[in-house]
Symmetry: C2
Amino acid sequence: MSKGLIVQKFGGSSVANVERIQNVARRVADYKRKGYDLVVVVSALGDTTDELIELAHKINTEPSEREMDMLLSTGEQISVALLAMAIHKLGFEAISFTGAQVGIITDTAHTRARIIRINTEKIKEELKKGRIVIVAGFQGVTLNQDITTLGRGGSDLTAVALSKELCADECEIYTDVDGIYTTDPRIEPKARKIKEITFDEMLEMASLGAQVMQARSIEVAKKFNVAIHVRSSFSTNRGTMIIQEVKRMENVVVSAVTLNKNESKVTICDVPDKPGIAAKIFGQLAESGVNVDMIVQNVSHTRHTDISFTVSKSDLNKALKVTRAVGKAIGAGEVLQDEDIARVSIVGVGMKSHPGVAAKMFQVLAQNKINIEMISTSDISISCIIQKKFAENAVRALHDKFGLAK
Amino acid sequence: MSKGLIVQKFGGSSVANVERIQNVARRVADYKRKGYDLVVVVSALGDTTDELIELAHKINTEPSEREMDMLLSTGEQISVALLAMAIHKLGFEAISFTGAQVGIITDTAHTRARIIRINTEKIKEELKKGRIVIVAGFQGVTLNQDITTLGRGGSDLTAVALSKELCADECEIYTDVDGIYTTDPRIEPKARKIKEITFDEMLEMASLGAQVMQARSIEVAKKFNVAIHVRSSFSTNRGTMIIQEVKRMENVVVSAVTLNKNESKVTICDVPDKPGIAAKIFGQLAESGVNVDMIVQNVSHTRHTDISFTVSKSDLNKALKVTRAVGKAIGAGEVLQDEDIARVSIVGVGMKSHPGVAAKMFQVLAQNKINIEMISTSDISISCIIQKKFAENAVRALHDKFGLAK
């Protein structure tokens, strides 16, 4: 009798070399020995994907997306075969499959395909034989048999989607950190590992710069209510459960403090205060593929106003170019840039029902003599743009005042 | 209007690095520009296959054959994607496929699968669209969707089988030599490139040590009468055509001289001359996986006889071990070994209808004071085992006396 079905996903760093593959094999075998059915999703070895991309670009700087998928999908195929061999070595039965072989059917949007459905018969059949099933992450196949990939973080998506389709009892995402923390422990040593966090909080944290999981996989997990256990492949400690609803003490309003130092601020001065101007600026930015994050428009006392927004550092030059061109066309003034900013945010579903959280945040920053340049709020998060040099201080102060420390 | 369909196969050395892949792309594009339809079969880049095998053996010294196929088939998949990108760069339409995608259906004998059939609809469809079709060599898929590989030289087999199924006008095998020579030009500078050679002669040469093509692909080409053009990927010179029947001058009896220095001789002395003894010796060798090549049993004047045979050097130790054990069991004498031997052979369909060819060969060797240790003949070849130190001399003398020089 099976104790239940666990889907386990191991990222590239967990299978970066022979020793680590053997380590993963031992962990999988331990679970099998305990009586679980196992479906294991694996990413490409270490930097394989980046190396293949580099090779492709040497041949063609704009490679066909179909051929990129053909190329990159080999990375995970190598991983699953090697992991199967490592598990066999430990005396357990295992069988590897590509995304195509287990019927992970996607649309035709190469390099960022979406899963349409999964034919789980093959996996179920092999599980019934008592085998550990190993599935190549990050990849699928179109109805026309073309190989597709699911985009960055795609292996997480494979694991979540398989968990849903197979009604798995648990979906474990193995990574190189041992869970989600109340803030980055490198900044605040008193940071605590969070036992349970909601999908919404995790989504918010992902969009605010926490890099443990891609937002897309969490969205899918939320949609189908697939509980995720984020944990380390280098220890057996329990990690963090990402779930629908968390039962917490009433007074917990903030769950985590996040920091993102990867953004820059752009300000267009003296923008004519007429309807349609903002649409023009941000329409042009969107067309150029620039992802704008926070936007602040000051209340206008004259007929002119200042508009500020943040973009990721890698988009700054493109954003400046577009903004200057639009600014000129609409008769705006100077375009200013500021790279020395940081975004510090507090996240927590509790703040929905607790008024005064924003005020408390501003107060903590003021007490620490930290000036706030921009503010943005959502249902379950509040972000402030501050000077970069105050970033770590701000994180520690907020972490302390909202009672997150150990 | 298409000028015809050409299947081109490029081996691993032809696509060993970015420059060579680009070189192959230019050649393919040239043919397309001239108006040909093209199906291109590619092997794995350079030493990729050997590197993957090494990686697998670090994890499991006896890897599952199914998982080996899963692993090794990625090598060709990488090649086809990169070649497609390189061809796109030149402005031509191309599309790559795995063996599974084009429906190269095989049996389930992993690592040495046999092709059962090929579903050519997909290839024909893409050719109709004017695209260059690139197919991963060496691989296929079972009816159960498991990936298989076709064994050493499998990409040649893919090319020959596709040529047959698609009724190609020509099957070109690109390699690092520019054709089949009357003998190894490194030994005899007067060696000539052969314009046309029969399947039977080529098969004989392959089994006698010529390494241009694997015997298996030639057998299939012969069975389905697929003409093969062996040529160099580094020049545009015509190479050698391998065909069913060659129209030659009546006096051409010998087509080529081959040399194999990779064998060793084993002799069991004083074998009791009773029925069933040879069967016992060679049965045991076969069971141990030792491939025996030539066998000579001297005519017996007493009740005892000597039996000699040759094996490839890599099998020598195993062969000695088995032979000593069997020798002891049947009451034979000493087991001797000789590693300093060479096999020199003459090949030619002409010798069927020309008596005295063997006598002439022995005479040439005698004139050069070269002692013959063993003789073996087939319909279209004669081989002599001689002392290794005379090997090159023997090749040059035979090449000269049978009129093969430039």
